[in-house]
Symmetry: C2
Subunit: 384 residues, 2 copies
Amino acid sequence: MRWTIGATLRIAQAMTDARFGLDARVTLPGAFALDGGGELATIDVAYETYGTLAADRGNAVLVCHALTGDQYLASTHPRTGKPGWWARMVGPGKPIDTDRLFVICANVLGSCMGSSGPASIDPASGRPYAMTFPVITIRDMVRAQAALLDHLGIARLSAVVGGSMGGMQALSWAATYPERVRACVVIASAARHSAQNIAFHEVGRQAIMADPDWRGGDYYGGTPPTAGLAVARMAAHITYLSEAGLTAKFGRKLQARDAKTFGFDADFQVESYLRHQGLAFTDRFDANSYLYITRALDYFDLAEEHGGVLANAFLGTATRFCVVGFDTDWLYPTSESRTIVHALNAAGARASFVELRSPFGHDAFLLDSPELDRVMAGFLGAGA
Amino acid sequence: MRWTIGATLRIAQAMTDARFGLDARVTLPGAFALDGGGELATIDVAYETYGTLAADRGNAVLVCHALTGDQYLASTHPRTGKPGWWARMVGPGKPIDTDRLFVICANVLGSCMGSSGPASIDPASGRPYAMTFPVITIRDMVRAQAALLDHLGIARLSAVVGGSMGGMQALSWAATYPERVRACVVIASAARHSAQNIAFHEVGRQAIMADPDWRGGDYYGGTPPTAGLAVARMAAHITYLSEAGLTAKFGRKLQARDAKTFGFDADFQVESYLRHQGLAFTDRFDANSYLYITRALDYFDLAEEHGGVLANAFLGTATRFCVVGFDTDWLYPTSESRTIVHALNAAGARASFVELRSPFGHDAFLLDSPELDRVMAGFLGAGA
């Protein structure tokens, strides 16, 4: 079974990663209550850390990952062998400087890299939860991270930082635990999912559920719904890139044979690229986790949790905020960042807003961006 | 089998439609050569007409339909029972005025409403072509329409008009048969498919091909790949609507029960709407036709057919052009319309360009738009 192989690899890789951090998982006992009304008897939280926790425990930074991200922030991914997804941002002397800061990144609740999710064993049945796993929210993810910090003895974060869904968690952290967050960095994100965001996710979910191998989610131990998950990833991947970026990278360039085949092979480079993105994703991600996490994103509406007024989420906060958007991001456009900043201003919070130019759309936050590096280093350096 | 039922309905409906026009199909004998190098032994072209052909045969207007459109331009669709897709535009006293003009709309080659396509019987085998149907181009569709006009004895069109893929056919008409086209109206269209356009289509094709019921295209007489086709339609449908339009129409509104279910039902109205769009589409469209027509669209690059210079497609033309774009169309943005107009200007062609405001994105050309009506009536009235 894929996940068992992954776990074995994970353990093997943990040793080579020892220099960078921990490859740790903790089981947090006691009923974990959920926004949906249910509870989990216990939860596992898998996490990585980088740097050294100061004696006063005051230098901890929590980085929250995106939909398909994981805790391998700045260390080699055990399944893909690739560098951490934000290795350019986090490390000694880097903008999130592990010479100075203790950086934690936890796999979100509902995911598939060690934290509790639909692929986890339900202690009540001894079998994978599959679709009996409760539907979770972004705030549930945040509460699980808070429980992890309790376990680690960290009362207060120097900063919480996240891009995309990570930015939503950062916002939810600041709203849910204002006394535990000194600074909050929200990148390429939004305070709620739009109708278009929901629509794209629904396409992905329907693609997964239409795959006969999905079998109502009960595919563990059998063949996973690879084809459906690949289609879901392909559709989502388009939203991560700008039209101009796709044109610059691929345009209408043909594959190596350099002529149209008048068939249905991947004639255009962009087709081949998308197919690869879809298939590669299925090697590292669980389809049911994709269903649960997209659902959590679609449910996210921070204003709704606060009487319909976003500013109410931040009333009286002492947290400093930094909100960053990219001009070509059409998944979470900069207008969404401005909505957040207006709410922060209305709440009297200290907030700065930076709109960066990039040709790369939503994915820009993961790519080389000296301006983002400067913003991050400057904001975290100013008292974080 | 679905298509047989459809054909029966079509014949029944033809009688009720008699007042409006013909429900006709013609078999055009003789080898039909294709851009891909192959040929079809004969082709069928199904078409509808509205109005009366003048004695001098000089009042014919060809309207070209979009990807999933058909010849039921202004008459009831035989499968869905819905009004024609452009009934608001075409009819007595309407902008395309059938009191004055003889309007023809033909089902495109490769489609599934009576013209030859993958669901048609291959005379060589006596079985449906399925994936042995040759890959076709937009220009092949245009050549089939030209053959129909030859059959009808119409040497020259007063105008060719089309939106979206119909606009591409209109451009291809003007470039391929300049002497047969007095005026050309291109709405919400482009002179070539962008990398993002191709990417969305590839998602749809992969969704269809991932459906086990697709069976390499050999599903006629059995269960068609409904689930895959529905996902393809859902993904495409998002691109037909603007983000602002989706927000205005649905926002984050929940279904009637008015509370989140914390499950995977269609909680949000936009989910329910998309699912309906996907499923309804499968009742009237053949999955293989979707593969072939999206392929033709992706291959479309009018400049490439003319030495890489779009203006060369129109050198020396006497055709008058009217190019219309909608400001919120992100499938074929108005920048694509401008590219066409610049090429027309460079070729010395008579061209007007109108950018219309609409909240509805690409779909605006199908919806109520008094400005579009005025532009159309004015342009066709001025000597068409």
